[in-house]
């Protein structure tokens, strides 16, 4: 007897019903497992991706990205463009129209005023809204009429699909969140855990960091959906056991983010109960090369700052040799399997933004790497470690704790030592590494190491904001409390100028051309070693249909279309 069936109890009788998309709630229960448990259903106060994705079952934006990265209307009737007049000629405003007859799950109508309220809610200075960047540059949001929303920007906005688009910024119900503005935001427990939404499901029971129970929204706009009557969204544990519960024991239908070694997944999938899905967005696993000197003897406030350039990692030959010595194919094979591809770019996707110019790093070339170092005067010393003018090529290599990353570290260490570069490894607890506590020496931004490895991506398909992390001013330094996205401390006036140009260029082709040029500047600098274009990897059981894994939006973006296969 299968445990899942018992869990579902009587409801699962619907399993025997004919074609799944026939009617709402006909397919019983779906069990979804997130190994990072859900803390809150309101994405504006979320602690991470998992909360945003859970929220997407209930709350919806005007439009979402589909699995190919194309915008599709959700609450909106269609996508406003320059052509259809939805975007003003001077690029300073965008006008959305809501679908007709939309209802909140409590039966009240959705109006443009809800969208206006959502903007006020997230931009309130005391609210601590995590998604505030989505409303960056918005000067006003107004309700033209019941169904028309006009968003005005404080200047030309060539890419206006930030506010109220995508899983991060859905529309909240004004009536429910009225009393939750500003400093009151965190105290609205009821609203934050059981929001009233327009999505396919409604929260019926919420246990923070444990489990969320949902049922089909009786007022969902498509009368035949969702096929499932109830959803169990369980949390906790680790990625490997999450995958096991779908692929081997069959207790769950879907497990999020199964980032485990590929051979384990393959072995689990061999049980024949489910399959591994992967999908590629813009996530790149990379090594950032410190352009400043992290030597502790420089003292606090001086180490890892622009005042002291790195003694050897600013040498183009050294960094190119380090990059050439890495066999990225093997990193993919040992750590990522189907969820990884070799890449030499900072912006790997979508295709029109990916640079075709950097394929040199795709194959390992140890001989070339050694030749480069020899020619640059870095010759092996008595212990095999290369040195020049009394400087040894000795590197401290840090990353967060994660078995796949530690495997990659060990492999790269071996290649670098073969090259004659001494490498010391360090791994740091993720909560500290990705935290931004200025008191801790081990954060990503402080970068008290020579090189560090992590992954980063951008939301949506437009890379402007993401490339904007690489301007000189974004370098973390004591004056900024060690905050800033430019961890490598890359700095080039040429780059800053070109980025400014991107900010005033409209039209996708022209923007892509500039984005590719910016990407190439970084990839060919000494501050960045691209490794792997990583996909999302999740697992689903064979009996779950309609799943389209999406890397551009929430993974649960189309949960309304999920159904039980016969």
């Amino acid at each position: 007897m299968n445990y899942r069936h018992m869990l579902a109890g009587a409801a699962i009788a619907g399993l025997m019903a004919p074609a799944a998309w026939a009617e709402r709630g006909s397919d019983g229960q779906v069990n979804i497992l997130y190994w990072q448990a859900i803390s809150i259903m309101n994405p504006f106060l979320s602690n991470g991706t998992k909360d945003i994705e859970a929220g997407s079952l209930v709350l919806e934006p005007l439009a979402r990205f589909n699995e190919t990265g194309v915008l599709v209307p959700y609450l909106a009737e269609d996508i406003p463009t320059l052509e259809n007049g939805g975007i003003s000629e001077d690029l300073t405003s965008i006008t959305w129209t809501l679908k007709e007859g939309l209802l909140w799950s409590d039966g009240t109508p959705v109006t443009a005023a809800d969208a206006v309220f959502t903007w006020q809610y997230c931009t309130h200075p005391e609210g601590g809204c995590a998604q505030a960047p989505n409303f960056g540059g918005v000067s006003n949001v107004e309700a033209v009429d019941e169904r028309t929303i006009r968003i005005t920007f404080d200047g030309p906005k060539p890419y206006p699909y930030g506010p109220l688009v995508g899983g991060q910024s859905p529309v909240l119900q004004a009536a429910q969140f009225e009393g939750c503005l500003g400093a009151n935001a965190p105290t609205c427990t009821e609203a934050n855990t059981m929001p009233i939404g327009t999505g396919p499901f409604v929260v019926t029971d919420f246990r923070a960091n444990d489990v969320v129970l949902l049922e089909a929204n009786p007022n969902f706009r498509d009368p035949d959906k969702p096929a499932f009557q109830t959803v169990v969204l369980k949390g906790g544990g680790d990625p490997a056991s999450a995958a096991r519960s779908v692929l081997e024991t069959g207790e769950f239908d879907y497990a999020w983010n199964a980032q485990v070694e590929p051979e384990i997944l393959t072995q689990m999938a061999a049980a024949g109960r489910g399959e591994v899905l992967s999908s590629f967005g813009t996530l790149v696993e990379r090594i950032h090369v410190n352009q400043t000197d992290p030597d502790p003897s420089l003292g606090e406030g001086m180490r890892s700052t622009a005042a002291h350039p790195h003694p050897f990692l600013t040498d183009p030959d050294v960094v190119k040799a380090l990059s050439l010595a890495i066999d990225r194919e093997i990193l993919v094979e040992t750590g990522y399997g189907a969820a990884g591809q070799v890449t030499c770019n900072l912006v790997p996707a979508p295709d029109f933004n990916a640079s075709p110019n950097n394929d040199w790093c795709k194959t390992q070339d140890m001989e070339e790497a050694k030749r480069l170092l020899d020619e640059a005067g870095w010759v092996p010393g008595s212990d095999g470690i290369r040195e020049k003018d009394g400087r040894r090529l000795s590197i401290l290599y840090q990353t967060s704790t994660n078995s796949v990353r530690q495997g990659a570290q060990a492999l790269i260490k071996q290649w670098w030592e073969e090259l004659g570069v001494e490498t010391e490894l360090r791994n740091i607890d993720a909560a500290v590494f990705f935290g931004a506590d200025p008191g801790s020496p081990d954060t990503l931004q402080k970068f008290y190491a020579d090189v560090e490895m992590y992954a980063n991506n951008f939301d949506g398909t437009d890379p402007e904001k993401y490339l904007g992390d690489w301007i000189c001013d974004q370098a973390p330094r004591p004056e900024t409390q060690w905050q800033g996205g430019n961890t490598s401390r890359f700095c080039s006036e040429e780059f800053d100028a070109l980025l400014a140009k991107l900010g005033s260029t409209a039209g996708q082709e022209a923007r892509s051309a500039i984005a590719i040029e910016l990407n190439d500047m970084i990839v060919n600098s000494t501050s960045f070693i691209p490794l792997i274009h990583r996909g999302r990897v999740s697992v689903k059981s064979n009996s779950l249909g309609g799943v389209l894994l999406n890397s551009w939006d929430s993974e649960l973006w189309n949960a309304a279309d999920w159904y039980r296969m016969q």
Binding site: N47, P133, C188, A208, V211, F252, G435, Q483
Partner: protein
Amino acid sequence: MFAYTLRRLLFAIPTLLVISFIIFALLDLSPGDPTANLPLTIPAEVREQIRISLGLGEPFHIRYLLWLQQFFVNEPLNILERMTGWTIGDSANRMRVISWQTRSPVVDIIAERMPQTLWVVGMSYVVGILIAVPIGVLQAYKQYSIFDQVGTFVSMIGYSVPTFFTGLVLIVIFSVQLGWLPSIYDTNLEVNSLDTFWLQVKQMIMPVMVLALANASQIASYMRASMLDNLNQDYVRTARAKGMKEQTVVLVHVLRNSLIPVVTVIALGIPAIFSGAIITEQIFRVNGLGQLLITGIQGADLPLVQTLTFIFAFLIVAFNLIADLLYGMLDPRIRYE
């Protein structure tokens, strides 16, 4: 004895205050950041705003005093209100201890987690003690017999193999291969019929056994050692010489005198029930207090960790006092003036 208890109780108040202050300072000093789990795409200014909205902008002593007020004044008032239905003062605007991660009152989350933790971790303790005491006694009574050797062997393996490993072995055998037991604990299960009771038993078996094995190994080892010390004492020989029944000698006199270290271990273990069993809870997704604590620490959820740790500290102080009083009952010669 009464005076001693009263003095200890009074002394416990400053002790707990000092402990709570040290815990708060430690948590404040430790390099965590409540925005660490947010995607890297969220810029620093926004993170700073989030931190300020959580109250991290206030100086250390203000935050500590605020917590003291929330925990020692507001929360008890709130509980009182709920029990009696009265309204005391401005109850709607009374600030409770709010978790940063979930934005809901910490005390409510703890209350929500209590059942599964008590069921699983508490039960494993009871099972552990029930297995360990008889085994330890028998092992000592028949020192170096086959039973003793096997018992030693099993308890040493049980203690030296960590729970993350035994848990996984059990899951692979009983959930994956045999398909008998669920590998994921269902915290929503309500026991209201024989069927649901059976489901509850099934989902508790593995986590309880994993924890019970580790607990039992430890208690049995102390039990055996302590029994051995006493079995060779003169009073045992005297009792036997007086013709007392062997059963009475061993189970009444020797056992009672051997319980002091065992009582200590158990008294240290009961508060630990409330700190949960972090690893076992994670493996089986029991999501009790241990999992709450660890997610709180990982998310640098200061109010949650502070409150949970303080409750834990309170229990430690309480149970150590109970252990001290028990010593006096087990061995009347012990005097605390």
